[in-house]
């Protein structure tokens, strides 16, 4: 049997549609429920710390591109940075929360937009963590010698789901026309974009490459019900037989089962569980906080509650704040694409030096999952 190969990220690409949209203009793009401004929006923005974001919907709410097309653009940008073209790619692993189609998988549609030649695809569908599922698939494929040029790509077109048609006429809107906070919060939290990385068995001939040291994904769905979900009404979310397809699309919409929803109470418990998993990694020596030169966490430092920060400090698990890099406040929370969009901006920032370690942390509240990826800069 062949030895496992080292694998390097040789190109990183991002695609953010349109111009940055300031907070005041959000509802021009995603629309107003019942024609009225959201009461919750400003509070959600304070909490998530996002100042500007990008939408693949114009200021009249019309689409300017598709989820798959954004993803293909990010793959092209990543290949271009690696001095490769779509024809060189033999494996494409994609991630998204919701593709353009319900069927077939996002990977096929991204390949359709990308062109190139026949290649292997894998479609990963979850929430933010799906980015690392795709990355792990690409990493292992190159590592095992199955492929020499693989891409892991992630994209989101969340704003489609935030248009009034998803809520109006459903149980999520009360008699006074107010949208349930579980639904409205996400409208002001998630936005659109795509990111991708190219992986190869040798570093770039010039410039910095990122050796992938490990990718670990841990699901805690054995203990938690869905925390951020679509496809079930809030009250029946734990019952798989009450999900949308059994009722049919029309009845499901009326029940409020066709919208993205977030359970805030559960989120607090899930955050503690993420911290527990992280500390287990520290305890096991898999993550050594003092040796992490840069932390890219798809979670705003601002929204870490003081208790959690205090706890991380008390347990020698905190990575100093001056090592955190984030562009969340300017590009928004792009779900699965966030970690690649962040990595792309980080590499452009010029902060990285050869030999340094970069820890990427991708928590997914979906059903309590968290992923870690450790990278090392090589020249």
């Amino acid at each position: 049997m062949n030895e496992l190969r080292d694998v390097y990220i040789t190109g990183v690409g991002a695609h953010l549609p349109g111009s940055p949209v300031p907070s005041a203009a959000i509802e021009d793009h995603i629309g107003r429920i019942g024609g009225r401004d959201s009461a919750l929006g400003r509070r959600a923005l304070r909490w998530n710390g996002v100042e500007t974001r990008h939408y693949a919907l114009d200021a009249e709410g019309r689409p300017t591109t598709s989820n798959a097309a954004m993803c293909a653009d990010a793959v092209r940008a990543a290949l271009d940075q690696a001095a490769l073209s779509p024809q060189d790619l033999t494996f494409l692993a994609t991630a998204t929360t919701q593709g353009d189609y319900l069927v077939p998988g996002h990977g096929s549609n991204v390949h359709g937009e990308l062109g190139g030649g026949p290649l292997e695809v894998a479609s990963f569908q979850s929430v933010c963590g799906s980015a690392l599922m795709a990355a792990k698939s690409a990493w292992l494929s190159v590592r095992a010698g199955e492929h020499d040029v693989a891409a892991a790509a992630a994209s989101e077109f969340s704003s489609r789901w935030f248009r009034p048609a998803f809520y109006e006429g459903s149980a999520l809107v009360d008699a006074k026309g107010r949208l349930r906070p579980e639904a409205d919060y996400l409208r002001f939290t998630l936005s659109d974009g795509a990111g991708a990385v190219v992986m190869e068995p040798s570093p770039c001939p010039s410039g910095l490459s990122l050796k992938v040291r490990f990718i670990d994904l841990i699901s805690l769905a054995d203990r938690f019900d869905p925390c951020m979900w679509a496809g079930a009404a809030p009250q029946s979310r734990a019952d798989p037989l009450s999900t949308w397809a059994f009722a049919g699309p029309v009845a499901a919409h009326a029940q409020g089962a066709v919208a993205l929803l977030q359970d805030f109470d559960l989120l607090k418990r899930v955050i503690r569980a993420w911290v527990g998993v992280y500390l287990q990694k520290v305890e096991a020596g898999r993550i050594e906080p003092a040796k992490i030169d840069h932390l890219l966490c798809h979670y705003s430092a601002r929204s870490l509650r003081a208790e959690i920060e205090g706890l991380l400090e008390s347990t020698a698990g905190m990575i100093d704040r001056d090592r955190w890099f984030s562009n969340l406040s300017s590009v928004g929370n792009v779900g699965s694409a966030s970690i690649w969009v962040m990595l792309e901006a980080f590499l452009r920032s010029g902060r990285l030096s050869p030999g340094q370690q970069v820890l990427c942390v991708v928590p997914e509240s979906g059903r309590a999952l968290v992923g870690f990826m450790l990278l090392e800069a090589v020249e």
Binding site: D222, R223, F224, D225, A238, R272, G276, A316, G317
Partner: protein
Amino acid sequence: MTGVPDVLRQLTIVFTEFEGRLEQTPLIRKLTRGRFDLADYQAFLVGLRQQVADGALWMSRAASNIDERHLELRSALMRHAVTEHRDFRLLEGDYVTSGGDLAVIQGAEKNLGSEALSAWMFHEASRPNPFGLLGAMWIIEGLGSIKAAEWGRLVQRRLGLPDEALRFLLYHGENDLEHIKEFEAMLAMVLPDAAVAAKIVKTARVTARLYALQIEEITGD
């Protein structure tokens, strides 16, 4: 790996695993899935009461077994015991306010988990310098400062009970950060010490497992 931050890290891991186990118990599943009724709440109070009543007792016993070289820790445990030794009265009050009969909650037997938990606590507290019980305190205090108020708010939302019927659950949950600081100070009285560190973490694990067993054994049906 035996200093205060190391032990706190291991204890935090034990606590988050414990929370995961609690989430999967039938009673808490009912609570988080909106199928929790008044009988469940009353069974919950009855199930907790015996163990809560014991809490200050094992803590006092532990204090009485702490030697003169650790007087600060002894004082801390005694203060703790005094603060908490009437808490079970709150529980009884909540039970009565929610429509229960005082004689029932006072006369109820410990469930299987409570028996095991209580026996374990008194056994540990009876040993000389029972520092391992700091691990047990971490679990039980953590329940008070983190889980109780969370559960209390969920119960209130499901059942629409007044605050007066939820005092035990709601009155906890304040000053999380202060609790941790106090606890760190207590750990610093006995650490660093490899054997003590291991004992504290082990005691936390056993306590968490038995506590979860106690909750598993509570049913309102």
